[in-house]
Amino acid sequence: MATLAPRIPRPHSAIHRCVSRASLAAIAFAGLPAAPAFAETRSFVVSWFTQAVYSQDGDCPGGVEPNIEVRFKGILADMGKSPKEIDELMSEFDGGGGPGPVHEMLRNRGSEEGKRVFVGDNPTAVPDPKIHTVASKIGPGFNLDGKDSADSFEDPDTHETGVDNQYFRALGCFSSHRAMPPVQPTMWFYAWDATRDRTKGWVISIDGKDLSKDGEVTVSFGRALETPIRTPKGTPQRDQTFRADPTPRFQNIFKGHIKDGEVTIDPAPFHIVTGGGYLPLEMKLTQARLRLKPKPDGAIEGMLGGYQPWLGIYYMYAGGGYGYESMVGLNLPGIYYALRRLADAEPDPKTGQNMSISTAYRFEAIPAILVRNTGQK
């Protein structure tokens, strides 16, 4: 089994120390790095990040959500269109996002105060379409509340029971959200990659006395000032130098532990900024958990979980607009109602409606060089 023991050859470490000491102008750059706080450090940059799902045949009792054509025909029928009208309308459907009469009709199918409105911005302007949700017992993530209840999963890798991952349950019956690890669900795979050139590196470092042994460590997970450079295949490069963003709110520092070669953290809030676009601009988790497991090739595979405000998740989808319905096959009001229904934490004191939902994300991080900058020139 691979361990977190230093893999970096000695001369390299010498450079690291030199950088850290900021003496002798070992590296001629403007920002001088801070003094080292730890005996041993391993640094990584996140190379991919995706919603944690585990899709098996039969895990959606109502079936996988129907494809766009079937759903749109159903919606038109619900709107009172005759089969002939539906056929005529759908013959205009070109697989794009409009414009055109059929697109207008489907996009603005919500009704509010007598006006047709876009259902993405106004999901409650249509009744709950009751999308299919996952009913399996196997699901990846963490037991966040310490309870093993009817709506909990068992993690397929750690076999931890009581796993809370209602986000998977809510969206896991859309084709674009279905995958069996190591494959990533198409929608998230695309969303992460599509924002790659504007997302600053997400850097992780593990600091401790001796990373080859069980013991206490400090784990930092935050944003860098640099964007990952890509290989010709589009994957991030190993061994790139990153400076940690000195702004404190862009860094998460966790108390962590190594046990049997795996790193976990004590629950704590987590916050990170993305490049926007297909991802929410920021991700905030409460009671966040992290699991880091070394791979033989020097990378780490990770799982991040916690409670996340579900409205933020919904607006990530609504932000994709009608195209997410007509081109990705999602059902925006359906997602809204499912997230609201399955939210499992942080009830609104007035209404009692849970405002956060349990989530889990899988990721991989590859070796990187992290320079902690004092922020001074």
Partner: protein, 440 residues
């Protein structure tokens, strides 16, 4: 005017011809090119080169199309099997990318065909090449789209699109309608510019004897080779002053049947087949030397007959098959596009001209916009050239150039066709490195 130097002879000839009068006899230079009536001899200048672009949107499934070995003797990858009969006439390029912000539905074809993406597509390679090779033919270029639209990636300049012809019947009428005349009956008029250039160059070659006279053996041999090489270029210019060989392979194709164009893949492939035949016959009959084919557009609207879900929807929605490891429907669409491409190549290769085929004197450049359809990436975007451009480019080679700009193929193609360009592309896609292994 004196006749003391050889230059006076050159001048006399030029004035005679360009003044529009019949050339008098006995002049030293151009009489070699002309018959007794001042017309060019029709004695076998090679048939002209043809060039065209062929575009398919969305790319496909990486790992399934790339050849396993590099260099000559490669075998087509799984999704490119339809091209296998023509492997020896095809170059496949892997690892190339469009530098710039991904994902974007335009940047891939912009870099492939125009070398850069500047919020819009600048002048494209078919137009650049057409402005050099296509000026003498009836149609400077022919653009077609196979999905019933007029969408085109051919640009005369930024925002100046050469709209595509969506209808095979209309294209037939344009080429082979009432205005069509037998190309072999047409009168040939030598290009005055070429005459001037040919004549002027002799001022360099006439120095040969003087320059070689007093050199040592080694240097004399070297300069002698220089002058021999110069002579080759002179001969090429002389050939341009001669009437081309008759277009023996020119036949008028049958008028296409009533058509049904549209986005269903079977419609698009049928439309494309007709276009392929019409364009091939048009080139065989000297009506055009340049074409641009758009098979299905950027965010491709093509779909199966039984489903309203387009190729594009499938790229975003379809789950990766856990057993296969890729999106099977997406891969199917890529295979369909390559199947159509193979039919276009077959149409060119099916026209025999002497010892070779129309394909042998043509150069087709295929590109798509994305490497990985599921991600819409601009990395490892498949590119192909087919045809040897009359011996100007080697074929049957798989070139692997990871991380290099797609514009390298465009630069290589232009240089092979004699376009005066040293570097091509802009920003991250600028390159002055042609793929030199494709040159003889």
């Amino acid at each position: 005017m004196t006749s003391k130097t050889s230059f006076s002879g050159r001048r006399t000839v030029l004035r005679g011809i360009l003044g529009g009068t019949t050339v008098s006899v006995g002049l030293p230079l151009l009489d070699r090119f002309l018959d007794g009536n001042g017309r060019a001899f029709a004695n076998g200048a090679p048939l002209p080169v043809c060039f065209g672009t062929w575009f398919q949107g969305l790319g496909g499934a990486p790992g399934l199309w790339e050849p396993k070995t590099v260099g000559a003797g490669y075998e087509m990858g799984q999704l490119f099997r339809a091209l296998s009969p023509y492997t020896h006439k095809i170059n496949v390029f892997t690892g190339l990318k469009a530098h710039g912000r991904a994902p974007d539905h335009t940047i891939g074809q912009a870099v492939a065909f125009a070398g850069s993406y500047e919020d819009t597509i600048p002048k494209t390679i078919d137009t650049i090449i057409g402005d050099v090779i296509g000026t003498q033919s009836r149609f400077r270029s022919l653009e077609v789209a196979c999905d019933g639209s007029t969408e085109s990636f051919s640009r005369r300049g930024p925002n100046i699109a050469n709209a595509s012809e969506p209808s095979p019947l209309a294209l037939y009428a344009r080429i082979f309608g009432t205005e069509f005349t037998d190309p072999n009956a047409a009168e040939f008029r030598p290009d005055p510019e070429v005459m001037v250039r040919r004549s002027a160059l002799s001022a360099v070659s006439e120095q040969r004897a003087v320059l070689l006279k007093n050199l040592g053996a080694t240097d004399r041999a070297r300069l002698d080779e220089y002058f021999t090489s110069l002579r080759e270029t002179e001969k090429q210019l002389e050939l341009q002053l001669q009437k081309p060989a008759p277009l023996a392979a020119c036949t008028v194709p049958a008028k296409p049947a009533e058509e049904s164009t549209g986005v269903i893949i079977d419609q698009a492939r049928a439309t494309h087949r007709t276009f392929a035949s019409l364009i091939a016959h048009a080139m065989a009959c000297g009506q055009t030397q340049v074409f641009s084919v758009n098979f299905g557009g950027g965010g491709s609207r093509l779909r199966k007959a039984e489903s309203a879900e387009s190729f594009h929807i499938h790229t975003h929605e379809e789950a990766t098959d856990p057993k296969l490891g890729y999106q099977p429907t997406v891969a199917w669409f890529q295979e369909q596009a390559i199947g159509a491409l193979s039919e276009f190549i077959a149409a060119l290769d099916g026209i025999r001209e002497g010892d070779g085929t129309l394909l042998d004197r043509a150069l087709l450049m295929y590109s798509t916009d994305h490497g990985y359809a599921r991600l819409h990436t601009s990395d490892n975007v498949p590119m192909i050239t087919a045809g040897g451009a009359g011996g100007r480019i080697k074929t049957g080679i798989h070139v692997h150039a990871p991380g290099d700009t797609m514009a390298r193929v465009g630069l290589t193609v232009q240089q092979a066709l004699g376009i005066p360009v040293h570097s091509w592309g802009k920003d991250g896609n600028e390159t002055s490195k042609p793929i030199s292994e494709l040159f003889g």
